[in-house]
């Protein structure tokens, strides 16, 4: 039986540069999952996009064939008109950067439902129903709201889920998922992956899954292709590759795969004196854009968040997608104003008078902005599309009038090298990078100013494990050398376990549990924390996690067992059960 999709000797390049994809071949059977793993910037995304022929204008397909379906039609030569029927209908794709890939002017429901209208000729009502169902399946707590929301009103993970729903509603024969769960917490990730699996079972859908998470590979894939620098390093069935890698690079990858260490040495509770950042009673309520006649809907993004970040330490926030992590971080950055009553204090130096971040004058603001930097969850949108990377990287220095032109350029080069990028890319525009490269750019930019506080919003989600390792090392190094403090948001519990001095777990806008990592991972109390830890996939093919089981997570708050459960807006308080360990429960 011919494979659903086979790629033969694909070669792709940009401009006059050498190929970025060299002789890549692989094939996917119906119902099979092929995992595409590899180094960031190795050409995974480009390969996937070439299947649908949506490459950047500058890209040239320099050779190869992509055969699809029973007729083995070559997608590279198919007339545009027929290609249209393939796209979205037979082959659909989840883009790596969902935040940029949704039209900012159209409601999510509209954009998702459109696929149905295009290919299945269904009525508006029917389409709406199916879209809502899909939203439910990808884990939206309030599908109606998602349907009416505009992309900018959604959290990163919510947008990603919308993208997934869009790719799946039409039930394609082949799904290309380019890092579909980077912005999702592990329970939601499990839910989505489970959903994909179900769909595969039901319709025999083939799946190309690009991911960096070897745990996900182990849980999902039947076969694996490992790529590096545009070349396939190793390809074959998942089992042997994961258990007994034949290629040096694969071995290196597997070795670098982080896991939650079994036994983290318990650390003492964080010192409470020299706090660089302190958030008190931070709540944020958004008003959704409504249609003219409807009453505006309020969204409580985060509520009563209290965080204390001692100097030189790392406080991590983990939690459900859409639980307000980004919002809290942005408030800490003064990029968003919290609801009245919130206080945020920032102490630039030890012993210095604290600055009220919620109420700064412009001089304070300038100083603050120099000392506090942020790595954005969505690096693509945080880089101006019309600025070359050199300009983007030197801009912070320019703003604060640091250094000469040459010094700034050197600094930019150095930063690029630090995050593992080639300084030769300095003259490129942001769109000419891979997702992981952009994420590193964002980190590099945040570091150019030598801040004292860095807010990292999922800074490594798009990085392959080896690069991630490199970046984490870098962060640790700076922390240790320069005493940098981090407010660190991540879904990857392994990363958190490694980096954090304290972890706050958020759910639906509330911090439900807060403790140092050792305590938290060894002795999780809150049902939601437990569910999270259970849902963390491990790169071990022999011990798959039960996707269905873990995706159920802890369920809605009202289903939580006593003393944790609560209904509506009336949660129990966050109580300290042991020194440094707080859990939200009824006394």
């Amino acid at each position: 039986m011919s494979p659903l999709l086979s790629v033969h000797n694909l070669r792709i390049g940009f401009g006059k540069a050498p190929d970025v994809v060299q002789d890549v071949s692989f094939s996917v059977q119906r119902g099979e999952t092929l995992a595409l793993v590899g180094e960031s910037g190795s050409g995974k995304t480009i390969t996937c996009r070439s299947v649908l022929r949506i490459l950047p204008r500058a890209a040239q397909i320099r050779g190869g064939q992509i055969l699809f379906g029973p007729e083995q039609t070559d997608l590279l030569t198919l007339p545009e008109r027929q290609m249209r029927d393939v796209r979205g209908n037979q082959v659909s794709m989840i883009f790596q950067e969902p935040m940029r890939s949704l039209s900012p002017l159209h409601r999510i429901g509209n954009q998702v439902g459109e696929v149905l209208k295009l290919h299945e000729n269904v009525s508006a009502d029917e389409a709406c129903k199916r879209v809502l169902a899909a939203f439910e399946q990808v884990g939206f707590a309030d599908p109606e709201r998602a349907f009416r929301a505009y992309p900018f009103e959604m959290s990163g993970g919510m947008r990603q889920r919308a993208m997934i729903a869009m790719a799946m509603v039409a039930r394609p024969q082949l799904l290309i998922a380019d890092e579909p769960t980077t912005a999702l917490d592990v329970t939601t990730q499990a839910q989505v992956l489970g959903l994909i699996k179900d769909l595969q079972r039901e319709t025999g859908m083939g799946l190309i899954l690009v991911t960096h998470d070897l745990g996900v590979v182990a849980n999902m894939a039947e076969s694996v292709v490992v790529m590096r620098k545009g070349r396939v390093m190793e390809a074959g069935p998942a089992g042997p590759i994961l258990t007994d890698p034949a290629h040096g690079y694969t071995r290196k990858l597997l070795a670098a795969a982080p896991t939650i260490p079994k036994d983290i040495e318990p650390a003492p509770p964080l010192p409470q004196e020299d706090l660089i950042l302190e958030m008190k009673d931070v709540s944020k309520t958004f008003t959704m854009k409504s249609r003219g006649w409807q009453a505006p809907q309020l969204v409580k993004a985060c509520q009563q968040v209290n965080l204390k970040l001692p100097r030189g330490k790392t406080v991590a926030i983990v939690g459900e997608s859409g639980s307000g992590k980004t919002t809290a971080a942005r408030i800490a950055m003064a990029a968003e104003t919290a609801d009245a009553g919130a206080e945020i204090w920032f102490r630039p130096q030890k012993g210095a008078a604290p600055v009220a971040v919620h109420d700064m004058n412009s001089a304070q603001r300038v100083a603050f902005q120099r000392q506090v930097q942020m790595v954005f969850q969505d690096p693509y949108s945080s880089l101006s599309p019309r600025m070359r990377i050199r300009q983007a990287l030197t801009e912070p220095l320019e703003i604060h009038g640091i250094g000469t032109w040459a010094e700034r350029r050197d600094k930019a080069e150095e930063m690029l090298r630090l995050v593992g990028l080639n300084p030769g890319m300095l003259n490129r525009y942001p769109h000419a990078f891979s997702g992981g490269q952009r994420q590193r750019l964002s980190i590099a930019r945040a570091l150019t100013l030598d801040p004292v506080l860095l807010v990292c919003d999922e800074p490594t989600s798009a990085l392959d494990v080896s690069v991630q390792e490199q970046v984490l090392e870098l962060l640790e190094e700076i922390r240790d050398e320069a005493g940098l403090s981090y407010l660190f948001i991540s879904h990857d519990l392994a990363v958190v376990a490694r980096l954090a001095d304290e972890v706050a777990v958020m759910r639906q806008g509330y911090i439900v549990e807060q403790a140092p990592p050792a305590t938290l991972f060894n002795n999780p109390r809150h049902p939601y924390t437990r569910a999270l830890i259970a849902a963390q996939p491990k790169p071990d093919i022999r011990r798959p996690i039960d996707l269905l089981e873990v995706s159920r997570g802890a369920g809605a708050p009202r289903d939580w067992p006593e003393p944790f459960g609560f209904d509506g807006d009336d949660p129990p308080a966050l109580r300290e059960i042991e020194p440094g360990h707080k859990v939200r429960h009824h006394a």
Binding site: R87, G88, S103, L105, V115, L118
Partner: protein, 342 residues
């Protein structure tokens, strides 16, 4: 702020602005020394036409023109009662056109809708032509389609309107029998609507629409093309393509809508700018629009007529701006009108 609140707020601002504008218009009209009646009285006196003088004096009193200027304004607007029951704009009395010797309402009446007709035809023409062409020019940039539309657009733009009108009329008449001037065959005037009359109007509209419209079309097309080119590479366009949308549908739904933002901002100005912009065209092409009357009224300082027409145009402008502001909020959900925290 909900949309409705915003709309209400915008409406109130508009009315206030209109009030300010009405004052300014009144001042501007009265700025040049003299006024129609004084000029006329002087001239009539000089030429010994006493009966005219009497009439003019009479009108002066009747329309409160002998009173101080601020009072004249109040009376004109209808805030203060005028002599002999003259009631002012707010109560629907548009005043008297001295130049035409008729109530302003009579002078303006039929012409307003013709003005609107010509301009709406031009607007429709502009949109109907420039939207698709602009999109095509962007989607197929640097092809003959792009170059051809650009060339024709600029040809229209770089030819003085009157010359263009003359050329089109002359050769249109010579080779395809188009009528010269006017908005309908005179024999249809005052006749009830009929198919033949509509046809006649349409045929007569060809050249004026073209002349008034080309400049706008070319401008809109080129700008649209530029904005579209910016949007075409955005990731959301790729998403749309990946959905399997047909190019036309995709282009109009996504990038066009994005690229449209600057035009929405200017929608408000379309009508009024053409009303005043087409004055000269109307004069040379003998279109029975309000434009020529405005010009005459201004030249002769026929203040009520000039005042009303200007106020009307101002009103159109303000309503237009308001609509475009509202459209902007509707079109782009990201837009908030709140101030920036500095």
């Amino acid at each position: 702020m909900t949309f409705f609140k915003y709309a209400a707020y915008r409406l109130v601002t508009m009315l206030l602005t209109l009030l300010v504008v009405s004052v300014l218009i009144f001042v501007i009209i009265n700025l040049p020394p003299g006024d129609y009646l004084s000029n006329q009285i002087a001239e009539l006196r000089a030429t010994g036409q006493a009966e005219g003088v009497a009439k003019a004096e009479f009108l002066r009193k009747e329309y409160a023109l002998d009173q101080p200027i601020w009072r004249q304004y109040l009376v004109w607007m209808g805030f203060a009662p005028g002599p002999n029951g003259y009631s002012g704009l707010l109560q629907g009395n548009l005043g008297w056109s001295f130049y035409n010797d008729e109530p302003v309402a009579d002078v303006v009446g039929g012409k307003l809708w013709l003005t609107v007709l010509v301009n709406v035809a031009a607007v429709i023409f502009i949109y109907a032509v420039s939207l698709p062409l602009g999109v095509i020019a962007a989607a197929r940039s640097k092809t003959w389609a792009d170059y051809l539309t650009t060339f024709i657009g600029y040809l229209g733009l770089a030819t003085p309107n009157f010359l263009l009108a003359l050329i089109l009329y002359y050769y249109g008449r010579k080779y395809i029998g188009l009528p010269i001037g006017g908005l309908m065959d005179p024999s249809f005037e005052g006749e009830p609507m009929s198919l033949a009359k509509i046809w006649s109007v349409l045929v007569h509209l060809i050249v004026p629409t073209f002349v008034i419209g080309t400049a706008g079309t070319a401008a809109m097309m080129q700008r649209l093309r530029a904005n579209m080119l910016d949007e075409l590479e955005k990731p959301y366009v790729e998403t749309a393509i990946a959905k399997g949308m047909s190019p036309s549908r995709m282009l109009t739904k996504y990038p066009l809508r994005m690229a449209f933002n600057p035009f929405v901002a200017d929608i408000g100005n379309l009508l009024p700018s053409m009303v005043s912009g087409s004055v000269i065209i109307s004069v040379v092409m003998s279109l029975p629009t309000i434009g020529p009357d405005l010009l005459d009224a201004l030249r002769t300082q026929d203040q009520f007529l000039a005042g009303f027409v200007l106020l009307f145009v101002a009103f159109l402008t303000l309503v237009g701006t308001m609509i475009s502001d509202l459209l902007l909020v509707m079109l782009d959900p990201r837009i908030k009108f709140a101030g920036r925290r500095s």
